[in-house]
């Protein structure tokens, strides 16, 4: 019998984002030993069974879309390869930049690359299934279940299950708060025309992921700077983003620029262990009135802008009722068109995915030697800077569908970003 899952609000929204990005979330992890592939495969099947959305096909029904759970063979989801060390970068890049169509039977693809006694794991999943927050939970739970299974024979079924509804964010509110939150009808889209200076679309454009590391020393230095000026690490990273961007794109220093920063709405949920894997991400607009005379002034602008949002108890919940209303009153095909009119995708965005806990990601006692997670490949002129940290090393990444010139522009951006980090350190 056909089994269906409800297409939740964020599933539909991410489906709508198909015009702006490829909707894939990427994760790369390196281990200094060869993992037990059979156990890995078993744990992955168990997780697919616990979260059937991973083996479901999205049906774009014009009235009410849904997920149709599909039978699958796990070997279609896993790519296992023995390669040389020299091939790792190429293989990983090629794997990570793949695209999984929403109507595909599988919504997650995993690459296991053995090379020189080491293993590199790559995960690509459809953002419609879950966001970075739950992806982090997924991989931590995966590693824990893998270890328990391999080391103690415990069945790998310890994975959260439950509702995927966006309404979970209201679950811990009092009835009065809930009523207020459900009435926050507001269009919170970014309205800023400043673009990242990528080239125009070309036939040879293809997806690439550019990365840059910020060393452990710099990481601590940035944290110190943050402390000194009452800023979070995210604020500091955004300030450096602004600083580098103004230079790269040659914006007028007196221009006001907005960067949309992803925020995890799970902050409103006290305990999400009873929720299913899903998306709970919204954006806050970090707007600076002008480029500061020095980077510290820019940082202060960022802090001021971020504080406006942080003070709000309903942070990130604006706009949800409007989207719900839009999707509820009309058939999906019509509501999509109407939402498209009111929705403007941010041209400049940042997602601080946060810490990838190396201890939680250890497999059989082997901590990952390196790794990062990054968001979807954006289509020009949209860009998203992702940041994750592991063992106090930050990995900045930007996924773009572009050409060699775009690659150079992004690399130049990272050079400028490093310069901004230096300025912050020395201030």
């Amino acid at each position: 019998m056909e089994r269906r899952l409800n297409a939740e609000l964020w599933d539909k929204m991410h489906y709508l984002f198909r015009d702006f990005n490829d909707r894939m979330v990427h994760l790369e992890l390196h281990y200094d030993y060869e993992i037990n592939f059979e156990a890995f495969r078993t744990v992955l099947i168990c997780f697919f069974e616990k979260a059937p959305v991973f083996h479901s096909s999205f049906v774009d029904n014009k009235v009410r879309p849904y997920w149709e759970v599909k039978p699958y063979d796990i070997d279609d989801a896993i790519t296992l390869k023995n390669i040389d060390d020299s091939e790792v970068e190429r293989e990983v890049d090629s794997f990570l930049t793949q695209y999984i169509p929403p109507e595909s039977d599988l919504q997650m693809k995993v690459g296991v690359f053995y090379h020189g006694g080491k293993t590199t794991l790559c995960f690509v999943e459809n953002h419609m299934c879950m966001d970075g927050g739950d992806f982090k939970y997924f991989i931590s739970a995966f590693c824990k279940n893998y270890n328990d299974y391999v080391e103690h024979g415990i069945l790998p079924l310890n994975f959260k299950e439950g509702s995927r509804s966006y309404e979970s964010v209201y679950g811990d509110f009092t009835p009065a708060q809930k009523k207020m939150a459900r009435n926050l009808y507001k269009n919170v889209c970014a309205k800023d025309d400043h673009k990242f200076p990528l080239t125009e679309d070309r036939a040879e454009d293809k997806s690439f992921i550019a990365r840059r590391k910020i060393s452990e020393d710099d990481f601590f230095a940035l944290k110190q700077i943050g402390k000194k000026y009452g800023a979070t690490l995210n604020d500091v990273l955004v300030a450096a983003y602004f600083d580098a961007l103004y230079k790269l794109a040659s914006y007028d220093p007196d221009d006001s620029v907005t960067i949309s920063c992803a925020i995890d709405l799970r902050r409103h949920i006290k305990d999400s262990s009873e929720q299913g894997i899903t998306n709970h991400t919204a954006f806050m607009q970090c707007r600076i009135p002008r480029l500061g005379d020095d980077i510290i002034e820019t940082l202060k602008y960022v802090v001021n802008s971020a504080n406006l949002f942080k003070k709000d108890k309903f942070m990130g919940l604006y706009g949800l009722p409007l989207l719900r209303f839009g999707y509820k009153i009309l058939p999906h095909a019509v509501s999509e068109e109407i939402i498209k009119i009111g929705y403007s995708n941010p041209l400049l965005a940042m997602s601080n995915i946060g810490i990838l806990d190396h201890k939680a990601l250890a497999l059989e006692g082997h901590e990952p030697t390196d790794g990062f997670m990054t968001g979807a490949v954006k289509y020009k002129p949209y860009v998203l800077l992702s940041a994750t940290s592991m063992k106090n090393v930050i990995t900045l990444s930007m996924c773009v569908r572009g050409n060699d010139d775009d690659k150079r522009i992004v690399e130049r951006f990272f050079d400028l970003y490093e310069e901004s980090v230096c300025k912050l350190k020395n201030s």
Binding site: T42, I45, E49, D73, L157, A176, K179, M180, K313
Partner: protein
């Protein structure tokens, strides 16, 4: 396979074996076997895990069994009610036909007696419309579009019958007013029900309907010469005024929520 059987038997060990329980168990075995085959096809090789996944999906077999029995009983009750309604409707129409023929043959007033037949058919239709509308509203918790249309149809059918009655049986001049009157009555009916069931959107129906209802009453009263056209038109203004009052009342209650919100934000 043996694990499933053990699990099933153990779960029901304290229950008396009945035919329905036996059939339920057979169904479960078939379902679990199918699920196990799916997991094997997905690539799972460990029998223990296969069993654990399936048992996890059926955590309380006794509870499921009881729920399934209850559901069966409900379905059977619903089927019975449906059958009764169908029989009742057919019986009603049959009764109307019999009455029509009996009265017609006895009195020979064929030109009027057809109203009995029509009355029977209309009564059955009105009953069906109202029942279906009520059931849909109960099911969804909202007085939805289909329910609203059905209720309006019911009102218009009554109006049509009243018009025919006042034309064929007891002729009343100017009975066409019934058609105009049926509109505000349908609106009042719809407005009250939609406000009762659709708290948030019901207000829009009220605001839309009130001026129309007052205008139509003005026309009816004017035609019936109960109210002079002038200054009777003030009735329309009164309708608009009522709308303003409704908005004001709504705003005042909205302000109370806002005050509550402000107090909360000050924390």
């Amino acid at each position: 396979m043996n694990n499933f059987l053990e699990y099933i038997e153990k779960s029901f060990e304290n229950m008396k074996e009945t035919e329905s329980l036996y059939l339920y168990k057979q169904k479960l075995i078939a379902k679990m076997t199918e699920r196990a085959n799916e997991l094997v096809a997905a690539g799972l090789k460990d029998d223990k895990i296969i069993c654990a996944i399936i048992m996890d999906e059926y955590p309380d077999l006794v509870k499921n069994y009881k729920a399934s029995m209850k559901e069966k009983a409900t379905v059977s009750k619903k089927t019975k009610t449906g059958s009764l309604m169908t029989v009742g409707a057919l019986g009603g129409i049959f009764g109307a036909v019999c009455l029509y023929l009996a009265v017609s043959f006895l009195t020979g007033a064929w030109n009027k007696s057809w109203m009995l037949l029509l009355g029977g058919i209309f009564a059955v239709l009105v009953l069906i419309f109202v029942t279906v509308s009520g059931k849909l509203t109960k099911k969804s918790g909202k007085f939805g579009l289909i329910s609203r249309i059905l209720c309006m149809f019911a009102v218009f059918l009554i109006a049509v019958y009243m018009f025919l009655f006042t034309t064929v049986i007891v002729p009343v001049s100017g009975n066409w007013i019934i058609f105009i009157l049926s509109v505000p009555f349908a609106m009042i009916f719809d407005m009250l029900l939609s406000y009762k069931f659709n708290k948030k959107t019901g207000i829009f129906s009220i605001l839309l309907y009130i001026p129309v209802i007052f205008t139509l009453f003005y026309v009816v009263l004017g035609v019936a010469k109960v109210l002079p056209w002038h200054p009777g038109w003030l009735l329309i203004l009164f309708g608009i005024l009522v709308d303003f009052v409704v908005v004001a009342v709504r705003l005042v209650s909205g302000t109370k929520v806002k005050e509550e919100e402000d107090a909360w934000s000050e924390d």
